[in-house]
């Protein structure tokens, strides 16, 4: 369970970004979370609330956008979704993917501020 470490990193990151704004109170944080990131969504949501306590982010919401896995399929020659997680089989032709193109994301994409 490293989701608390991840949540603390989110809070630190958002506070750093907040410093660059002239003013504002954070209402919500938007996060992209890949299915292959190794981070559990429910544990992260829970940990986020704990990590925010006593900071300017207290009571803010964490809005998580799931990102499904996509691979480069060497047979189709294009990006494809996979057929059966976590095996990297092309949903279109069944070939093994060459590399993961999406699904490893763990990034803050936006914050909602009120002034």
């Amino acid at each position: 369970m490293h989701e608390l470490s991840i949540a603390l990193n989110i809070v630190d990151g958002v506070l750093e970004e907040l410093d660059r704004q002239k003013s504002g109170h954070v209402e919500a944080v938007h996060l992209r979370l890949g299915r292959l990131s190794g981070v559990d969504k429910d544990a992260l949501s829970f940990s986020y609330g704990v990590a925010c306590e006593g900071t300017p982010l207290a009571n803010s919401r964490l809005l998580i956008e799931d990102v499904e896995v996509a691979i480069f399929c060497p047979v189709c020659g294009v990006e494809r979704p996979t057929r059966s997680f976590p095996v990297l089989i092309c949903a279109n032709c069944g070939a093994l993917g060459e590399r993961v193109l999406r699904g490893e994301e763990l990034e803050i994409t936006a914050m909602e501020l009120v002034t």
Partner: protein, 226 residues
């Protein structure tokens, strides 16, 4: 009350750790120190394998190890039997190492005097996968006794490692281990991943692993010279 305004951020959550890991990697590479980390579930044989590697490699190379553990210093004591310098990183309740822990553990050590630095992560197949430690090579161990479906249950750790090591080969027959199935599962979640099979107890496959570590090191030294 005003409507909230959306501010675009685009920031990796582990940006700070990634930046520090990149700095560590640059530092290791600039002095020609090869850094190899080991990750696996608890009891897969990281410490036994590492004790063997340290003992063998220190005949010709300057080697040292950092070893992460939640509470005890047992692993460091075992590794110290090899004669190589070893430092324990006790993480308390934290289930993984991060780049900051590695940097702090190296304080007072002359990294430039080392050919190889090994980092044994906390035994855990989930949490260590998110944290870059600045290593050149990450080995993920999976033992013959723990079930062929480990890669399907923990795909992320296989995706962030460079080489898979199948350990405890000497026990394979006794536990009815299915080698083909494990290899198929590893390649299902990480196509093309290099796989080596070893037994630290009998020594089977160890030479091949050491050859891999040494040839990679020579390549990076050559690249530096060029």
């Amino acid at each position: 009350m005003n409507e909230p305004r959306m501010v675009e951020v685009r920031r990796k959550v582990l940006k700070e750790n990634d930046l520090l890991a990149h700095r560590l990697r640059d530092r290791f590479q600039s002095v020609g120190t090869r850094v190899v980390s080991l990750v696996s579930s608890p009891g897969s044989g990281k410490t036994t394998l590492l004790e063997r590697l340290l003992t063998d490699l220190r005949r010709e190379y300057r080697v040292a190890a950092l070893v992460g553990d939640l509470a005890t210093e047992n692993d460091a004591a075992r590794l110290a039997r090899s004669g190589a310098p070893v430092k324990q990183i006790t993480t308390g309740t934290v289930c993984h190492l991060d780049a900051g822990m590695v940097e702090r553990a190296l304080e007072g050590w002359a990294v430039e005097d080392l050919d190889y630095l090994f980092i044994e992560n906390v035994g855990n197949l989930v949490c260590p996968s998110s944290f870059d430690l600045g290593e050149d090579l990450r080995l993920v161990l999976v033992s013959t006794t723990e079930g062929e479906d480990k890669p399907l249950k923990y795909p992320t750790i296989f995706n962030t490692a460079d080489v898979a090591l199948i350990t405890k080969l000497d026990l394979a027959e006794a536990v009815g281990f299915d080698l083909e199935l494990l290899i198929r599962n590893i390649h299902g979640v990480r196509p093309g991943m290099p796989i080596l099979q070893v037994s630290a107890r009998t020594g089977e496959g160890i030479e091949g692993l050491e050859h891999l570590l040494i040839s990679n090191h020579t390549e990076s030294k050559l690249a530096q010279v060029q």
